[in-house]
Amino acid sequence: MIFAAASHLADPVAARSQMGFSLGWHIIVACFGVGLPALVVFVEWRGLRTGDPAYRLLARRWAKVLGVLFAVGVVSGTILSIELGVLWSGLMTGYGQVIGLPFAIEGIAFFIEAIFLGIYLYGWDRFPPRAHLLSGIPIIVGGVASAFFVVTANAWMNAPTGFTVQGGHITHVDPWAAMFNPATGPETTHMIVAALMVTGFGVASVYAVAILRGRNDRYHRLGLLVPLTGAAILTPIQIGVGDWAARMVATEQPTKLAAMEGLAKTTRGAPEALGGYYSGGKLHDALKIPDGLSILAKLNPHATIKGLDAYPANDRPPLVTVVHLSFDLMVGIGFGLLALAAWLAWSWWRHRDHPQSRWFLRTVAVSGIAATLAMEVGWVTTEVGRQPWIVYNVLRVANAVNPEPGIQYGFYAVVAIYAALTVILIAVLRRMTRSTPIPAAPQEADVEQYTVV
């Protein structure tokens, strides 16, 4: 057998790679599953109120995209449930019951989302318009609720509460305390807002590219402005939520904070470090703002922040540079998007329109990729920053992994399958635009003839 040659030792690297890869892929599609229903229902509502064919055609075309992305999200999310057992049997055997409840409730929310998506998409031309619009509401609620409950489980891994261990066995569990752990508030809010921002900037990007290519009509302007306005409003809120999340990390996961900042030694009046790299127990070439970290984390310029040296070597995150730069990149992109939002707000205030500069459109065109990248490196920060723990200070990754031999072949297969899926998904989404081109001035007939399913 091919597996006979493989070692019988647990392989956390392959398991981590597979989980990280499939989760990192799914989360992008999942963001659109959370955000896109709200956009579709919003433009459908505007179309209903105004009768404007541009809004009504946008609703149909976005709904069709939603149908594809939701299906891909459903199946790529299923893999994750299976992977929790296949890769992390140790975690699930020991703590499945502690983090199970939010998953069970998430299952209900996911049912609601899937049921009403079927009704909403396939019922498009079968209901009275108002009833159809209302049937979209449970999709939004189900999507946001799913995101909330599933992220509470990740929050628990960062700030585990709600259980008692005696002699290696779990003797008591309070599943509600586990669900509403100290990380739940900031982490779930941060992720839900991120999902809405990824959707908003992502959809706006598509229309920015189209306008840059000369399609500067009402349909494309609305396609740009509606999602971009939503995302722009959320951007300053997200920066506030991010600050809340970082201060939670400072309290709950001091080793993660130290890695995020590349703080080697415990420091009173710790500086905020930007950029650089961590090597030999020291951060090199970073730009340091005096007392910045103490102010941000503790609201006190003289506060003492624990450095990595305060913890035993085998309890420290091994990839400090990755955590530090990922965090900086996320924050940097966040402020870049804030500048874009301010540009839009200023122009809207002065001219009642988005900035006409091509540089604005170019910036919007990359904002979708930037927002997605920020969300991904945010996950890298929290996940790599939690190492070597899978459950912070409770269970190490090495003790959580499935010991069966050959796990790495699963990882190779996942990479191959997702690479193919990515190429096909992009090709399908591009084809959907081209196979039915958007008319210069959509008429009633263009709306009616565009079938959602």
Partner: protein, 344 residues
Amino acid sequence: MTLADTLAGVMWLGVTFYTLFGGADFGAGFWDLVAGGAQRGDRQRRLIEHSIGPVWEANHVWLIFILVVMWTCFPGLFGAVSSTLWIPLTLAAFGVIARGSAFAFRKTVTEHWQRRIFGVGFAASSVITPFFLGAVAGAVASGRVPPGIGRGDAITSWWNPVSVLTGVLAVTVCAYLAAVYLTADARRSGDESLTAEFRNRALAVGVVAGVVAGVGLVFLHADAPALAHGLAHRGLPLVVISVAAGVICLGLLYRRHFLAARLTAATAVTAVLWAWAAAQYPHLLGPGTTITQAAATRPVLQATLISLGIGAVLLVPSFTWLYVLFQRQNPSRADITPNHLTPR
């Protein structure tokens, strides 16, 4: 009945619904696969697409429901099954990905060659997925998954006659349910020849499913005597119900009572699943791991049951609306006649 028994029952209810609804969606993919050439199979494929399109995602969530209830309420069971059986579970997961994506992609393209590629992907994975999930069930039923993490053999636990036969049975059962359901859908569409085609298939695969199940019982007798004994004793009434319902279903199909045939087909399959559960009760993984021993702590079981109870209040009317809505709608002839040939 203890709280743990109740939640085991809830989990098994999830398995039942997944088989009856999700299984039928997989079976529809099986019929898509064997529908024949592009011209000949087109009407069948249209009907299949029309029937499962609005519902497959919601039906699929039952799989997630089963996994979640398992790891929440019986974490040791989940850990043991998924670690030892990681290969068939991973392959089933790949099948899930391919099936859902290809089905969604096929709807968006119009060119013949593209529809064919996605169609084959959808149809082939609709066979692969239930096969591996069935093999997982066979491995558990025949006691090849020991308690603990990764204690069983990663290969022989599922690659053996009983597990493979269970996989084949799963594919057959899915095809059977789908054929019976689709016959009624075909008649509602008013297409007589399509109805006749699915009726003949339902009759044929109904017989095949019975034979595979019978052969399985013979194997089981030699391979897993404890389970066979359970089926012959505590599970016997349910086995009898299953056989009777299966036979009546064939009669109803023959007499063209297609809606009643749906009910009996679902009854036959449900009875098999619960006969297995009854035969194995109270053990989850062979002797030594009972439901009580494997159960999570009481507060977890209580919180889960309460949450799922509240969830059911939301889900039952929602599901009812979904199914009634698309069953009441007559699929017009236009929906199942080729429309990719006409420009839209």
